[in-house]
Symmetry: C2
């Protein structure tokens, strides 16, 4: 008669510190996290495959995956579909009050920014858009979709809307860089006020595909509405960020 499996002492038993949480997947998590924090694995280094980790830890693959999901939620690792798991690089620090634009603040942090224009078009304002811009529903707006990179890793996709009355012919300009600068230089349109919303979200179908991540991964939705001195809406921007790529930092004088 054999010992019931659940009563047999598993071979990873002794790895667990005394009095510690006995959850196996946390043990696996800690072990991987230790390797990362120890510096054994540099930024963007590839982790052993799930099946290797499985045999290495003696856990079932489901358990190994639970540990990997945990580390992903913590922002320590990310994945490329069907390729592997990788160590997350340090996040970009984002200060909404210091409005310099993506290109300059990424560069200022010693990282390599890149913007890719995915497409532009003219759209009819939906009710929500019309409300934001203070125009009639159905009015024409410019829409541009861009993808932005840090060190060649896609970190956000954004959809920007601009009122053509403020920037006629905008789509003919070079939009691979700072849109704010184009507006300033070509149209003498200056941003005087920003309204920024941030909310944890799940990356849906379209965003996830554009970031080449699994749909449903956690992300951060940053919405920005820029106004000029007259209170007109200059730009409405929806940015979907990888949740591990961003750290928000604000410095505010209190009245």
């Amino acid at each position: 008669m054999t010992l019931k499996k659940s009563l047999a002492r598993p071979d990873w038993w002794m790895d667990l510190p005394d009095g510690a949480d006995t959850r196996h997947y946390l043990g696996v998590r800690d072990s991987i996290a230790a390797h990362i924090e120890n510096g054994d694995l540099g930024h963007n280094a590839c982790l052993p495959s799930e099946r290797q980790l499985q045999s290495g830890t003696g856990a079932a693959r489901g358990t190994v995956r639970a540990a990997l999901f945990q580390l992903e939620a913590e922002g320590l690792i990310y994945r490329k579909e069907r390729s592997g798991w990788y160590v997350s690089p340090a996040p970009i620090v984002y200060d909404p009050t210091r409005w310099e634009g993506f290109m300059s603040y990424v560069k200022a942090q010693g990282r390599d920014p890149k913007t890719e224009l995915l497409g532009t078009c003219e759209v009819q304002a939906t009710a929500a858009l019309a409300d934001i811009f203070g125009v009639d529903a159905g009015a024409t707006l410019y829409e541009l979709r861009r993808r932005r990179y840090v060190d060649d890793r896609a970190v956000l996709v954004e959809t920007i809307y601009v009122d053509p009355r403020l920037a006629p012919g905008l789509l003919d300009h070079d939009l691979d860089g700072s849109l704010t600068q184009v507006l300033k230089r070509e149209y003498v349109v200056d941003v005087a006020r920003n309204r920024i919303d941030m909310q944890p979200c799940a990356l849906t179908q379209a965003e996830a595909a554009a970031l080449r991540v699994k749909s449903g991964l956690p992300g951060l939705l940053v919405t920005r509405i820029s106004y000029d001195a007259q209170g007109r809406v200059v730009e409405y921007d929806q940015e979907y960020w990888r949740h591990d790529a961003l750290k928000v930092s604000v410095d505010i004088r209190v009245g």
Copy 2:
């Protein structure tokens, strides 16, 4: 000879819209999400149990759980350990620039705030703390831990550090409300500047326990350093929020 199981058409096959994603767990997700968005389930309503959903959808329990995790990441539902899954209430809107304090802005949104003092003590400043306060390592600091609720759901736990030199005897006051007001009223200490950091994180052991959620759940770490007019650090605050309880909204004039 029987048909191989994986080739047999599963009984949920016809539920999937044409051309849609064939991933079963997303189908389950959509079905639950529809019920929520439809209003069949009000805020804080309890979902059917995992095993009920299982038989209701014909999926394995693991698949049902994948769907629930997805909805949790999206902030639509939350769980009480070993009790059930519940519909998330609307998030609180938080404006770091408008520094009124938790109690007042939660109330302003028609919700019911509550603060609970978990404990206070005097601690020796660690290197990191000493650096923030500009004191010597080992200097004494007040530490207070609090838990804050919205409509009787715990949404954040915080650890606050205060320099005793600015507010001697602080711990003898009533700290169940606004700390900023106590500092202002009792010590004539006014906050002139705030530095606020926000970063997605995983709720670790202690925070998760205090929020009565599973350790490792995604959260948002909001760190605030408050300075007075002389640039002295008045207060250093680490807030661990449930990720589904908060929406950050900032309105900024651009110089």
